[in-house]
């Protein structure tokens, strides 16, 4: 008697299909950001003075605060998955709620950062805008879009967890967790590259 083919996971490695697909997606995302980092480093090397001057308008303490917020939200995401796998719905809701709150806090800090840049005329199309700020807005902007994209399914899962059966798909939350940790990883590189690379 042959075992039925299980389409929920890859047959040899037993890795869930969604998880494998997410890793493949994250690999492509890493290459996407690698393009930004590579171009940024090359252009910084050939326009050092302009990049050096422009970088001093950035607020590294605000970026440091955002780093701690994202690290904290990575922890709460991991704890949310841990609790859902143990069918502890209340703790799952608490930790997922904290993760969403962290994401929201990150965006609020980013709003204040962007607001200060707008006031200083450093936005694209403004008088003080430079090549450095093109990279700043593209890299942090795409990163912020990733944060927003992560928040949407998180809110959906949280709302669904308040129904009678709770949220019934731990693997989906684990897959979303991979994405969320990747968002944290990218910030770990963006933070020193943009805010700290010039002494």
């Amino acid at each position: 008697m042959s075992a039925a083919l299980n389409l929920n996971h890859e047959p040899v490695t037993k890795i869930a299909n969604g998880k494998l697909a997410m890793w493949a997606f994250l690999a492509s995302e890493l290459m996407f950001f690698t393009g930004f980092f590579g171009t940024f480093i090359v252009l910084r090397n050939t326009n050092y003075q302009a990049f050096f001057d422009a970088s001093h308008h950035l607020s590294w303490p605000l970026a440091l605060l955002n780093t701690f917020i994202l690290i904290g939200s990575s922890l709460t995401m991991a704890l949310a998955i841990y609790n859902l796998e143990r069918k502890n719905n209340g703790m799952f809701q608490t930790y997922l709620g904290l993760t969403i709150l962290g994401a929201f806090g990150f965006l609020i800090v980013k709003y204040f950062e962007y607001g200060a840049k707008w006031q200083d005329g450093l936005f694209p199309g403004q008088e003080n805008h430079t090549l450095f700020y093109s990279f700043y807005f593209i890299m942090t902007g795409f990163h912020a879009l990733h944060v927003i994209a992560g928040m949407i399914p998180m809110v959906f899962m949280l709302m669904k967890s308040f129904t009678k059966n709770g949220y019934p798909h731990p693997v989906k939350v684990e897959t979303l967790g991979l994405y969320w940790h990747f968002v944290d990883l990218m910030w770990i590189f963006i933070f020193p590259a943009l805010y700290l690379i010039f002494p």
């Binding site: 040899v12 050096f52 780093t67 693997v171 020193p192």
Partner: protein
């Protein structure tokens, strides 16, 4: 199909506090420490390299513990190692090239003079 990895909370907490400490170390390495020149590599290139090395350590912590790479099927690591390796090669390679290659000597001289105005060593 969730995997039970046992009680991983102590490991999560260790990673969380390590990440916080490493973040502060990154800021200190960038803002407080000025490395001396080592051979043909300028000190500020070492500052950048140390910052990136700390970031690499943080990335490994997150991938292995938070993203469960340590606990999942080892085949999965092939998916991860190749793009991560390419990313590191590019960022480290470009940064070291900046400080070490003779073709960039005029750039490194200018940078050195901006960082250390009183030191004329790099200008010769």
């Amino acid at each position: 199909m969730g995997h039970d990895h046992g009680n991983v909370i102590p490991a999560y907490m260790k990673v969380f506090f390590t990440l916080c400490a490493m973040t502060l170390l990154t800021v200190a390495a960038a803002k407080l420490v000025h490395f001396p020149d080592v051979g043909f590599i300028h000190g500020y290139v070492l500052n950048i390299t140390v910052g990136l090395a700390i970031a690499v350590f943080k990335v490994i912590c997150v991938m292995y513990i938070f993203m469960h790479l340590k606990f999942d099927n080892p085949y999965l690591r092939f998916f991860v190692y190749v793009p991560v390796f390419l990313f590191f090669v590019l960022t480290f390679g470009l940064n070291l090239e900046f400080g070490a290659a003779p073709s960039n000597d005029h750039v490194t001289r200018t940078v050195h003079q901006q960082l250390y105005p009183g030191d004329h060593k790099a200008g010769h």
